[in-house]
């Protein structure tokens, strides 16, 4: 069967040709820093003197590190709350703004606006203006007769202001949903209407299943990003994780360890543990995908 074999070789060549730019980038720019950081994770490295090999010392040290435990708990709570909230908001708004009606283009832009800010200083100032003791939120509450607290600087509420910030910037997920909603051929709906299917049946029967590849994408990417979330906590807590470590995200702790306390080796070990955690989560989602993601 040499014909079949030739076809297979041809297929492999085509595949690797298309993959070539990525492969070059992978080996040229990505994998070397990753390997280097893995090596650092096995050393004492202060960035200024050569790393000293300590084997698994950094990893063992993490077990009894209170800050690691605190930051893990903060990060897990953040991921579990911000990801569903953000995706739900993004999907709801995308569905509401799907149809081309009068004004809808402007609405889409307005709802995307918060995402344009990124993690700029302006956002940090704004968030404080809203959630501080004399902020906008408390002024509104005062009208109803409730005396508010300083939401950002109170340990029990500070994380929620960051979750809200993440949810508020749902624009990218919304755009992805919008794009894939428009990918659904209109004749599907026409056919369904002829068959007498109502709006809800159309949504559960057509929209939702055809949207699953992008729901899957958004879930995976948001989880990967949320676990590594750094900027919101950095700009709002001034890079400290205050108050009382209630916004000490895992990567913020890692950053403080590496760049403020000059323990880059330990920080690298922290990073690799996070990679394993994220990989486990992502892997689980990929395994479950066979059950709920419909291609084509």
């Amino acid at each position: 069967m040499s014909g079949k074999k030739r076809a297979e070789i041809k297929r492999n060549i085509a595949g690797y040709l298309f993959l070539l730019p990525w492969l070059l980038g992978f080996f040229g720019f990505t994998i070397i820093p990753m390997i280097a950081s893995f090596y650092f994770s096995l050393t004492d490295y202060d960035m200024f003197t050569p790393p000293k090999f300590v084997g698994l010392g950094n990893y063992i040290g993490m077990i009894s590190d209170k800050k690691v435990l605190a930051s893990l708990s903060v990060t897990f709570r953040f991921v579990l709350m911000s990801v569903p909230l953000q995706l739900a908001a993004a999907l709801a708004v995308a569905l509401a703004l799907k149809k081309n009606r009068r004004g809808v283009r402007l609405y889409r832009a307005v709802y995307y606006l918060p995402s344009l800010f990124g993690g700029s200083i302006a956002v940090a100032i704004l968030w404080k203006k809203i959630f501080s003791q004399e902020g906008v939120l408390n002024q509104i509450l005062a009208v109803v007769g409730i005396k508010g607290i300083n939401w950002i600087a109170t340990p029990s509420t500070s994380l929620y202001t960051l979750i809200l910030l993440a949810a508020w910037q749902f624009g990218s997920s919304m755009v992805i949903f919008l794009a894939s909603l428009k990918q659904i051929p209109t004749d599907y709906y026409e056919a369904a209407t002829i068959d007498g299917a109502g709006k809800i049946r159309q949504f559960t029967g057509i929209t939702l299943p055809l949207l699953t590849p992008m729901v899957f994408f958004n879930v995976v990417m948001q989880i990967i990003n949320a676990f590594q979330s750094f900027t919101p906590a950095y700009i709002i807590s001034n890079g400290t994780g205050a108050p009382l470590d209630s916004t000490l995200f895992y990567t913020l702790n890692l950053y403080i360890m590496g760049f403020m306390r000059l323990r880059m080796g330990y920080a690298s070990a922290l990073a690799w543990v996070l990679l394993v955690i994220i990989a486990l989560f992502t892997g689980a989602i990929f395994l479950s995908a066979k059950k709920w993601v419909h291609y084509d």
Binding site: D46, T49, N150, A242, P243, L244, D245, F259, M260
Partner: protein, 468 residues
């Protein structure tokens, strides 16, 4: 159709951008900064002459605001005019990420030749051989020291090595809002208006009580007396330990903590009491205030009587608080009247990664920065009083009244025996982080002062032990 239009537009824009980028020499001249490309024309002309002056470029990085960038840029211009063979590549950075970038550059083998160094990081860099020894340049006369107090040079040594030099000195001190004090209507009985005297820690607490009661009686809500520095502030703790513990320094000379667990506990207790009696803002309010921009601080808004920062920020505060009369006063003194005021400074250092020629050019640059009247009169009080005292006197004559007040304050207390900081030992950054955690756990009421002190002490010991 549409995608093709989009791509065509993109491509056209790309080509346009590529052209303009090429002409400004951006991505195309990979290793040459445009400054160099621009200087190639005169250089080519020089090439005809038999012995062309060999141009040398030194890179110079500092942190600061837009105004400082302009001042330092002007100093660089002034230096280049006086030293035709040397160009200074200016690399200003915002303070927020200054340290991240600098450490990455040093680790990456691309350290700037001249760099601004914060006192907190000086030891961490000096003890790791990152900074060049400056003694040889003093010995060879490239860096002149005649105008500079020898004590300033000597106290800049870290473990005997002279590798950072202060470009400006200042005093970490307290600011008092006289207008607010008059409004509340009490008198503190201290002649701070004439740079004469200050609180003791005991009288501070007593005054705090008086002020708070008086303010309450007048129905002034949300007005605070303030604290002698933050409980999480290493500098404030340093003053307190020197003053109340009979001159004991926070750090031991050989590294490690110089004060006891019990002392830490008292420090936390002092601040807790200030909060409890309502003289200092509660934990959440002060945390927010600590990260608020200068324009938005409680002190700036006239809600706090006493705040603390370095003396050279006086003009900036006064500029924001046009309706208030502000005075500087030193941190509290000891019961016997002895004062432990210390000078603080920002520093410059030269990279050890530079070759000899660059190091020498960098030393010339520093010399110009510190010891030339033209440069110092541009610098004025930008990062404190210039350390060349002769030039500082000349500069003082041309200052506006606000800056003159600051320089008078610094000089008066320097004359009264303010010492230079003992440099925080390597590992002090770890202590800064640990202190902040412990201080918060007390102010938020999570731990009692004794508990927080206990865990802080053991964690600090462990951290220092790891380094030494």
């Amino acid at each position: 159709m549409k995608i093709q239009q989009v791509l065509a537009t993109l491509l056209a824009a790309l080509i346009l951008a590529g052209c303009s980028a090429g002409s400004s020499g951006s991505p195309s001249s990979a290793t040459q900064p445009p400054a160099q490309a621009a200087s190639q024309a005169p250089e080519a002309a020089n090439a005809n002459t038999p012995a062309p002056a060999k141009d040398i470029e030194i890179s110079f990085t500092w942190w600061g605001d837009t105004r400082r960038n302009e001042i330092y840029g002007a100093v660089c211009d002034d230096f280049e005019a006086a030293n035709p063979g040397i160009k200074v590549i200016r690399e200003p950075a915002a303070f927020g990420e200054y340290w991240d970038k600098l450490s990455t550059r040093i680790a990456g083998g691309n350290a700037p030749d001249v760099m601004g160094i914060h006192a907190n990081f000086g030891s961490d860099l000096a003890t790791r051989g990152v900074l060049a020894d400056l003694q040889p340049y003093i010995d060879s006369g490239i860096f002149e020291v005649d105008g500079i107090e020898d004590s300033l040079i000597q106290s800049s040594r870290i473990n005997g090595l002279l590798c950072i030099l202060p470009q400006g000195i200042t005093i970490e001190c307290m600011y008092i809002n006289q207008t607010l004090l008059d409004e509340v209507g009490i008198d503190l009985g201290i002649d701070y208006k004439n740079n004469n005297g200050t609180f003791t820690y005991a009288s501070f607490l007593e005054a705090a009580k008086r002020f708070t009661e008086a303010a309450k009686a007048k129905g002034m809500d949300g007005v605070y007396f303030g604290a002698p520095g933050g409980s999480d502030n290493v500098a404030s703790l340093q003053y307190w330990s020197r003053t109340t513990l009979g001159g004991i320094d926070l750090y031991k000379d050989e590294g490690g903590l110089g004060i006891t667990e019990d002392a830490l506990s008292k420090w936390f207790a002092l601040h807790k009491e200030l909060i409890d009696i309502g003289a200092a803002a509660d934990a959440a309010t002060s945390l927010e205030d600590a990260s608020a921009p200068l324009e938005d601080k409680l002190f700036t808004r006239g809600k706090v009587l006493i705040s603390s920062t370095s003396a050279n920020q006086y003009s900036q505060y006064q500029a924001q608080m046009t309706d208030s009369e502000l005075y500087l006063l030193p941190f509290p003194e000891a019961e016997d009247g002895s004062s432990y005021n210390a000078l603080v400074a920002s520093h410059f250092a030269i990279s050890n990664q530079a070759d000899d020629a660059h190091k020498e050019a960098a030393a010339k640059f520093l010399n110009h920065f510190f010891n030339r009247e033209s440069a110092v009169s541009i610098f004025k009080l930008e990062q404190g009083v210039p350390i060349n005292s002769k030039l500082a006197d000349i500069v003082a004559k041309s200052l506006d009244p606000l800056s003159a007040y600051v320089i008078g304050f610094v000089n008066d207390y320097t004359a009264k025996g303010a010492r230079f900081w003992v440099y925080p030992p390597a590992g002090s950054n770890e202590f800064t982080q640990l202190l902040s955690t412990a201080a918060q756990s007390v102010s938020y009421g999570q731990s009692a002062p004794e508990e927080a002190a206990k865990s802080l002490y053991s964690e600090a010991e462990a951290a220092f032990a790891k380094i030494n």
